[in-house]
């Protein structure tokens, strides 16, 4: 009987029933993959070792926490997601998942991930994960995203916490190495997103999100990209000089930051006429390289830690 009603509903163009994949999309799996990688690096480069099952469980619950904050973000931002080309296919604006469902899933997974991380690792890591979820869902999504053009800068902190949470899972406390891994992602985020905003210009304008490109203009955004890329370099070099670094990490860091700076300088040197003529080729290349930058930077920390038992890595 229920099925007949359901057939009628779908054939009449009512809300479609969500598939399992739609709920997975609600957790922003691409963002989760970055969280898994950086949290795993933070956990493995720490000087305290954990049992493999604990490592697996800790990273899984950190990723689940990130997914929960993604669901809460989709619940809150459903209205602006619906008008942006990049986000209009997400489950809530597409009508596959109801906003109330997204909220319930986000809250439930937040609780589960924090409690389970507390049991799998320690209370400090659980508290830091809870703060990360709160920061992304409330401070960034609800308070700042629609209020200030510095939204990306402050919101970037939420994406920067996972390696720190991973480190705290292993050691139980925060140290300079964890803070520097946080700082690397924090300083990397603005150039990464502003490069995206330069060539996705219609999206943020239509949604009324006060992106720097909308409020301060595109020339100012290009300057900001360069400034943050310049600030990122000493932070990354400092991290390479601590216990998580070594000669290999320092060499990789210098090469990556040199290349990143050249890209930022090229973006700063262009104007809109030139950028539009080649369809933002430099901005798109810079954005793609920014993804590679973060991946290689954290891979270097991991390789350095892997070499230490053989007397090769580290200072």
């Amino acid at each position: 009987m229920t099925d007949i009603g359901a057939f009628d509903e779908t054939s009449a163009g009512g809300p479609a029933e969500a598939s399992f994949g739609d709920y997975v999309q609600l957790l922003k799996p691409r963002v989760m993959s970055l969280v898994v990688f950086t949290a795993l690096v933070g956990l493995l480069v720490a000087p305290v070792s954990m049992h493999p099952v604990e490592v697996f469980a800790s990273v899984l619950f950190i990723a689940l926490g990130a997914g929960a904050s993604g669901a809460l973000n989709m619940w809150w931002d459903a209205d602006i997601d619906a008008v942006m080309k990049r986000t209009m296919g997400r489950p809530v604006p597409a009508g596959k998942v109801q906003p109330g469902e997204a909220l319930a899933i986000g809250l439930a997974l937040s609780g589960i991930s924090v409690v389970m991380l507390g049991l799998a690792a320690n209370l400090a890591a659980a508290a830091l994960l809870a703060f990360t979820i709160f920061f992304y869902a409330v401070v960034y999504s609800i308070w700042l995203k629609r209020a200030t053009p510095q939204n990306i800068v402050i919101g970037g902190a939420a994406g920067a916490f996972p390696p720190m949470v991973g480190w705290v899972c292993a050691t139980g406390s925060v140290s300079i190495e964890a803070a520097l891994m946080f700082a690397v992602i924090f300083m990397w985020t603005p150039p990464h997103f502003w490069a995206l905003a330069l060539f996705m210009k219609e999206d943020y304008h239509k949604a009324g999100v006060p992106m720097l490109t909308v409020t301060h203009g595109r020339k100012a955004t290009r300057t900001h990209i360069l400034v943050y890329t310049v600030l990122l370099a000493p932070v990354a070099i400092w991290a390479a000089l601590t216990s998580i670094g070594g000669p290999l990490t320092l060499a990789v860091t210098l090469a990556l930051n040199g290349w990143f700076l050249i890209g930022a300088w090229r973006i700063r040197a262009r104007d809109e006429t030139v950028a539009e003529a080649d369809k933002y080729a430099v901005e798109k290349a810079f954005f793609r390289f920014s993804l590679l930058y973060l991946f290689l930077q954290f891979t270097a920390y991991l390789v350095e830690a892997g070499l230490k038992p053989y007397g090769l890595g580290g200072w």
């Binding site: 969500a18 399992f20 709920y23 049992h51 099952v53 469980a57």
Partner: protein, 74 residues
Amino acid sequence: MSFRPQHELHRRRFGRNLGVGLVLVSFVVLVFALTVVKVTRGEPMKGYGAGDGFSMAPAAADAAAAPKAPGVQP
């Protein structure tokens, strides 16, 4: 062979139920594995307030020093 062709809605619903089922089974396995790791690590089990010197394990010295009850003296 079924009498009616399966509706797309049923396929989607089955996929969702299967997915949730697998997630729950995986969660149970993970919690079990975590429990085994935590219990078999070899850390002595202590009662509340163990850090203050209290222990669930009976101290042999305390037991020896305890006065014997009058009724059991030879």
